[in-house]
């Protein structure tokens, strides 16, 4: 009797706690995504074309699309560059603003502001910097590589994208790290100090292990953001010069909506999803294992 009551209560709890989320999630994400996959089996040039069944043709085209894979490879380089630095800078900033120095409150706000400027506008602002201000500075100081516009050289354009991404998203990661740092019980830190641990020891043996939940989130987010970068790509370099900084998301959007090849573009989006899902899935799986249960 008691067991049955408890089982019913458990089911009731499940519905109450998990139900609403499941409903919203299914309606907003799962169903449209399923329909999106359904669409990839039809040949459509523009999304408003009549649907002509074409089986796996779109996926074959996607696999044959050399530009898709080269843009993916370029994006991978971008991912490696940004994820490392974003997390390093983000954590560093968070550590800085919780270390107790006097101006940390205003710093906390200052480091967060880049995030407030979203997507396309960010690219336009940084265009000013790279096209006008840095060259002007380079002219004054006589530094050649500063003088010539950053956005006209494939390598410098790539690094300008990396730089702006680090600048914009470190603040976002910072506040996640702050939440984590603040949640570390003070008595643990005190105990380790009493035991004679210096600041570096404290950092590596006490703080970082307890920060794993934060890192799980930030590494996941920085991975995802880097793989899916679009707004900044579009507004800062437009994929140029001569498509040398065309990341995979921009390629997919161009294919589906600009090149009038909606079917192939959509299937490339799905392929991209699977690749990124596997990568981030592996990351989350292994880092979750490192989470310490209190």
């Amino acid at each position: 009797m008691k067991d049955r009551k408890r089982d019913l209560a458990n089911v009731g709890n499940s519905i109450l706690f998990l139900g609403p989320t499941t409903v919203f999630f299914a309606i907003t994400v799962l169903i449209p995504f399923a329909y999106g996959i359904y669409l990839t089996f039809f040949k459509m040039n523009s999304p408003t074309d009549p649907m002509v069944f074409s089986g796996l043709l779109n996926y074959l085209n996607a696999l044959k699309d050399a530009d898709f894979w080269s843009s993916l490879w370029l994006t991978l380089k971008f991912v490696i560059a940004t994820v490392f630095f974003v997390n390093l800078v983000g954590f560093g900033l968070a550590y800085l603003v919780t270390s107790g120095i006097k101006i940390q409150n205003s710093m906390r706000t200052a480091y967060f502001t880049p995030n407030l400027i979203g997507g396309l506008v960010l690219g336009y602002i940084w265009q000013f910097v790279f096209v006008q201000s840095l060259p002007a500075l380079g002219e004054k100081l006589g530094i050649t590589w500063l003088k010539l516009g950053w956005l006209g050289d494939p390598h410098m354009a790539f690094w300008s994208l990396v730089l702006v991404t680090i600048w914009q998203t470190s603040g976002y990661m910072m506040i996640i790290f702050i939440a984590g740092l603040i949640s570390i019980p003070k008595d643990l830190i005190e105990a380790s100090t009493i035991d004679g641990a210096g600041p570096f020891r404290r950092l590596f043996n006490v703080t970082l292990p307890l920060m794993v939940p934060s890192f799980v989130v930030t590494i996941f987010l920085s991975l995802k953001n880097a793989f899916m970068v679009y707004d900044l790509n579009f507004s800062l370099t437009k994929g140029g010069p001569f498509n040398s900084t065309l990341m995979v998301s921009m390629h997919v959007v161009n294919k589906a909506f600009v090149e009038a090849n909606y079917g192939t573009g959509q299937s490339e989006a799905i392929i991209l999803f699977f690749i990124v899902a596997v990568v981030t899935g592996i990351q989350v799986y292994f880092s979750k294992k490192m989470e310490v249960e209190a």
């Binding site: 209560a9 998990l18 609403p20 989320t21 919203f24 999630f25 309606i27 907003t28 994400v29 449209p32 329909y35 999106g36 999304p47 900033l93 800085l96 120095i101 940390q104 205003s106 710093m107 906390r108 706000t109 502001t113 880049p114 407030l116 400027i117 979203g118 336009y124 006008q132 201000s133 600048w167 506040i175 996640i176 702050i178 939440a179 984590g180 603040i182 949640s183 019980p185 003070k186 307890l210 794993v212 939940p213 799980v216 989130v217 995802k224 998301s249 997919v252 959007v253 909606y262 573009g265 959509q266 989006a269 999803f273 899902a277 981030t280 979750k288 989470e291 310490v292 249960e293 209190a294």
Partner: protein, 278 residues
């Protein structure tokens, strides 16, 4: 020993200031350029304005139908965030405390869903909810809030998940022994302990939803229900943007969030100062 400490903290101080300048200067650029005309913005973007022309702000206010647009953004952002936090914290709690195979699977699906490229969902969303169900025409704002909860849950659950794990199970067991059921345990014991992450998640959701352009552009088709980012688009031109109006518009959109962030940060600090948690 003392000299070393002074040297380190001076170094830290200097690094912080340099970082501060690097981070803030584009914002500073926005501010000084909001008082200039298009010509001045293009020719001398880095200098102080010759005349501090406030007219652009009132121009933007009128052209953006500011009060109505602000109200739309406010309602959508606040309601969506509250509901996301409410439902996601509950869902995360359930997923953490009842690690069944189904729950683990569901969590995996949630995390995976975050990497779905939005472009692949654009057409399905407007086809299903516009063409088929006519909801985009009839109830755009509730529909949009619905979508935000649907899209926002995954990340919020993901973040709550890790932090709930760090709440000791013993405290909950103690509450159970005292006669609390699951709902009471969660809302009275566990949730208050999650204050830092709850505020953080709220800030991040507000930031995302307030500044989001893509989703509202698909769902909100009538000017009277536009949010700030959608309304701002009128200042974008095909070949050149109308900077003298776009920049003040950006500032007017960004400043409310900045204020909200500063308030939010204060509450995290206060929560810590009270030494409530552990």
């Amino acid at each position: 020993m003392n000299r070393q400490r002074i040297a380190t903290s001076t170094m830290v101080y200097i690094i912080s200031i340099v970082a501060l300048i690097c981070f803030v200067f584009p914002f500073f650029l926005l501010i000084i350029n909001s008082f200039k005309s298009n010509g001045e913005i293009l020719t001398s973007p880095f200098s102080f304005p010759q005349h501090w022309n406030f007219a652009h702000f009132s121009d933007v206010f009128a052209k953006m139908n500011f009060l109505v647009t602000f109200k739309n953004s406010f309602i959508i952002t606040t309601l969506s965030t509250l509901l996301i936090v409410f439902f996601s914290s509950m869902a995360a709690y359930h997923l953490v405390r009842k690690p069944t195979k189904y729950n683990k699977f569901f969590f995996t699906i949630l995390v995976a869903s975050m990497v779905i490229p939005f472009q692949s969902l654009m057409i399905p969303l407007i086809y299903i909810y516009g063409a088929k169900l006519q909801l985009i025409d009839t109830i755009p704002i509730p529909l949009l809030i619905f979508f935000y909860i649907g899209f926002g849950s995954a990340l919020s659950i993901f973040m709550f998940h890790g932090f709930i794990k760090s709440v000791p199970v013993e405290i909950e067991e103690a509450a159970r022994i005292d006669g609390c059921n699951t709902i009471q345990t969660f809302f009275l014991i566990v949730f208050p302990m999650l204050k830092p992450i709850t505020v953080t998640i709220s800030i991040l959701n507000v930031l995302w939803i307030w500044n989001d352009y893509l989703l509202p552009s698909l769902v909100l088709n009538d000017e009277s229900v536009y949010t700030m980012p959608v309304q701002m688009k009128v200042f974008n031109g095909t070949y050149m943007n109308n900077w003298e109006l776009l920049i003040p518009a950006i500032l007017l959109t960004v400043i409310p969030i900045l204020i909200m962030y500063m308030i939010g940060q204060k509450s995290i600090i206060n929560g810590v100062m009270q030494g409530s948690i552990k």
